[in-house]
Symmetry: C2
Subunit: 554 residues, 2 copies
């Protein structure tokens, strides 16, 4: 029996949706050679990560084993799979492999970090493979909501792993490659040890629908409009952009793209040939000269993002364009849970302008890019793996997917971020638990999610902030305590100014405090905090955050 | 022609879901006698109102016209209709009318403010009426998701207004009164000037379903469970509580209520006789002695509220009770948009415990308490008003409801909070716009939504906070500037401590600043801010909030 083992370790994307990052290792325990699949981002929210710009998986575990990493493979160009390569490339410094469209997008990202285009190597699809240490990796085309999405065939001396990436079973995806059951049966023929599989839609009980089911609905809808039409979807959903643009053209409308991410995606699609027949587009400046009934805007911001084109249009003029009573605004998208408030805000703003909003309530104008429950079962049946390892989902999705696999007679496991799973045997087995976490890009600085920085921000937001300043010379207070407040009411329950009540109470204390307390910074600070907190509690019924500055003259 | 007019003025609930408050006036312009329908609350969220406890409509307009108010009428006991009466009773000081169950809940609220039970007068249902100045008001029973919900018949010298309150058309609501089309046709017979009508579900295209359609599904589900069963729904959904408890009893389970709001509702229901046959319940202490397979918990927190029983159970032990692998947790509820993150967090925590979560994906375990689009049309047809005034909805709901009414040949109007509508003529007409807003209960203090307090909190959460202290004697700096940070990274891009770089840059400035600047507090503060901001921008790529304290010795 070999002492080598084959392990799987999710560092992001397992136990959450977003910031995908999966590691495979092969070799003697703790000496495995490693490959990394995807390095994505997640997006912050006000509840948990206010002020943060982007969220990355914590790659400390990988950085500490830099010399063991062979390569990074990117399955597709969605932000939650490729978004962090610019920020992390320097830390890992290994070659990145991706197919042409994905590589095109990736190079644009690296360029912003001054990394040249050669850092990403363009890989050809299966049956071509890339050798990386003990691994041989092939990109197997599969349908999703972005071109050139690929599953990975990962061959190791212990056997074959199939990593699905994000996928759906679409036989007519319009842009990009179709689901080809024969191809997938073919790659599975030699026997598959483990199917590491997308879990996003495991709770959706109906089979997924094809992108091609939308075209007629969208055409009909746009034909029915007589004023300006605006449509939003994910910038990266290039097939949808094409469906929308084609429908606009069929209705005699000029197409204008608004939003940098969307223009970038269409550019990449055209450059790499996957979108060769995208209709011609006009600039926002030229759009101003087109009669409203002959114009269609395709815009970013389907998730209600505050700075995106949708939000800007909903608030007024954007690039000279302005919506009016009778215009139509189509959300050809689904709201990701957690983004509802932002999306609803935009819909109401549009409603105030008299714009008719059409959304996807009925499913007529949007289909998901992920495999539904019956599609996952189909994938299990086609690949016939020894074991199914659910990935790409919150805990509830992974657990449900594992149950589904087990109900189908397959071994499975719920492995969240940090769970290293030994795939060498006949069933998945936890090898060890690795510390993982999240790294925040905050302005220009990377901080740890648990550094306490964001926690302090949340506390200031919930509790407000009191700042106390005292000056002493030896044990002699100089002047009276000075208080500033931020995020707190000016007047408290006693109807006096909160700052004055605080200053008065703190001054009372300073006057009667003993020399020992006044000479001891720690003790003095504790007392000042205690008094300010007590006063705040009685005046405003809150316990604010507190900063105390003690200045000593000498 | 009379100089008197009949006006409608929403102060809350029109242009949002929550904090309902509608005013009707009759009399000469600006001298109308007034009645108020409902004074509810809305709930804060981290995006827009961090740290706030409750949101009320701004009642300044009413307070300034206190002598013109005749009475307050409460349609039903949901928080968004009755929640603010305790906080606002003293400001208005007029009698409150409500039916017995609603009055019972209302008195409990007033009691917390030291207001005696007589402040609320128990009203009998239609055909009984209450005289209030020029108004005669009757409570007309209608089905909703809480007992004794009522529409109001508001008779004035100018004609009859029907204010639906929240409603659905349920002929078998299990608890509370059924929708009685004959009764509503009867009250409409004399002719109705205006139907002021719930708009919540105007986008739901299928007719609403009856509460009675759930019983069998829930019974079957609970029968299928062999370990502990926990179910959550709105505390006030007394009919659902009964359905759940009955199903639990039928499966041989003892019922334990967890959560103060839920116990309070059941108590009120039993006291007022609307819930006479609620199954006996046991205390959490006694529940500990019941075998898990014979226990059912009914718990608060269906919206993911952090302090409610659901969240507590998802995090571990609550009142000695703890969930385990194989237990079942039923969300017999719908997640209100904006609450998804909280609910999903709980579901994932439960998933980690191995608890099987059942939610309402399919509609089998929950029905809405509001009238759907076809039900609204039915209401329009039954009441046959001259005009429909949509209320209880965001702008998009009001607009869609107005369109629906107009498509049915009825006059309508979109009137958001602050729009005073003259109902005297044949069509609704805007009389004037009144300034409205939101009042936050923040700890023990009421603050205005636009006071800037919460804005400062949000900014601290997004940007962090830098505090700068300098001490001077005349134009002579004493010591060096002192900086504290909160919610910001300790180390910036130069790899030095952020505080030290700030202090160094500020000190440099103080050293070379002229006497004129150093003697001028405003100028000095501006300069210190400018420098600190510039340093922060280059060190951490952010623009933090800033507090500058200049202390002057004399």
């Amino acid at each position: 029996m070999s002492k080598n083992r084959l392990v799987y370790l999710p560092l992001g994307g397992a136990g959450e949706v977003g910031m995908n990052c999966y590691v495979y290792g092969y070799g003697p325990a703790d000496k495995e050679r490693l490959i990394v699949v995807d390095i994505g981002v997640a997006f912050p929210d006000m509840d948990g990560s206010p002020g943060v710009d982007l969220i990355f998986p914590d790659l400390d575990w990988l950085k500490a084993r830099k010399d063991r990493i062979e390569a990074v493979f990117i399955t597709h160009a969605h932000e939650d799979h490729i978004g962090a390569i610019g920020h992390t490339y320097a830390d890992l410094g290994v070659p990145i492999y991706a197919r042409a469209f994905t590589a095109n997008i990736g190079r644009r990202k690296l360029d912003e970090y001054g990394v040249g285009p050669k850092a990403i190597k363009t890989a050809s699809p299966w049956p071509k493979t890339v050798k990386a240490g003990p691994f041989k990796v092939g990109f197997v085309p599969i349908s999703h909501s972005i071109p050139e999405s690929s599953g990975l065939v990962i061959d190791t001396p212990t056997g074959r792993v199939v990593h699905t990436g994000d996928f759906k079973l679409d036989e007519q995806p319009l842009v990009g490659e179709a689901w080809d059951p024969d191809l997938w049966a073919d790659i599975s023929k030699p026997g598959v040890k483990a199917l590491v599989c997308d879990s996003t839609n495991v709770f959706s009980r109906e089979p997924g629908r094809s992108e091609s089911t939308l075209g007629d609905n969208i055409k009909e809808l746009i034909q029915s409009a007589d004023q300006m039409v605006v449509a939003t979807t994910f910038a990266s959903n290039v097939a949808r952009l094409k469906t929308l643009a084609d429908a606009g053209r069929a209705a005699g409308r000029s197409i204008c793209l608004l939003g940098r991410a969307m223009r970038r995606m269409v550019e990449a699609g055209v450059e790499t040939g996957v979108l060769a027949d995208f209709p011609p587009t006009i600039s926002p400046e030229d759009a101003l000269d087109v009669p409203r009934g002959n114009l269609m805007l395709l815009v970013t911001g389907s998730q209600g993002e505050r700075r995106a084109a949708s939000a800007q249009l909903a608030q007024g003029k954007y690039r000279g364009l302005k919506l009016k009573e009778g215009d139509m605004f189509l959300f050809s998208s689904k709201t990701i849970p957690g983004n509802e408030r932002g999306v609803i805000r935009i819909i109401n703003q549009l409603s105030e302008m008299g714009v008719d909003v059409v959304d996807d309530n009925s499913g007529a104008y949007h289909v998901s890019g992920h495999a539904n429950r019956p599609d996952l079962q189909t994938m299990h049946h086609v690949v016939k793996p020894q074991m199914v390892v659910p990935m790409h989902g919150e805990h509830r999705h992974l657990r449900e997917h594992a149950k589904l696999a087990e109900a189908g007679g397959l071994q499975s496991i719920v492995a969240v971020n940090g769970t290293m799973v030994d795939l060498s045997g006949n069933a998945p087995k936890v090898a060890e638990y690795v510390e993982t976490g999240r790294t925040y890009l905050d302005g220009s600085v990377q901080i740890g999610a648990l550094d306490g920085i964001v926690r302090d921000r949340i506390r200031m937001a919930l509790n407000g902030h009191i700042m106390v300043n005292v000056i002493l010379e030896g044990d002699e207070p100089i002047g009276e305590p000075w208080v500033e407040i931020k995020g707190l009411p000016e007047i408290g329950d006693s109807k006096a100014a909160l700052v004055e009540v605080l200053e008065e109470d703190l001054n009372q204390f300073m006057m009667r405090a003993g020399a020992k307390t006044l000479r001891d910074d720690d003790k003095l600070e504790d007392e000042l905090r205690r008094i300010a907190r007590k006063t705040a509690q009685s005046e405003i019924g809150k316990k604010p955050e507190m900063t105390v500055v003690i200045s000593r003259l000498n």
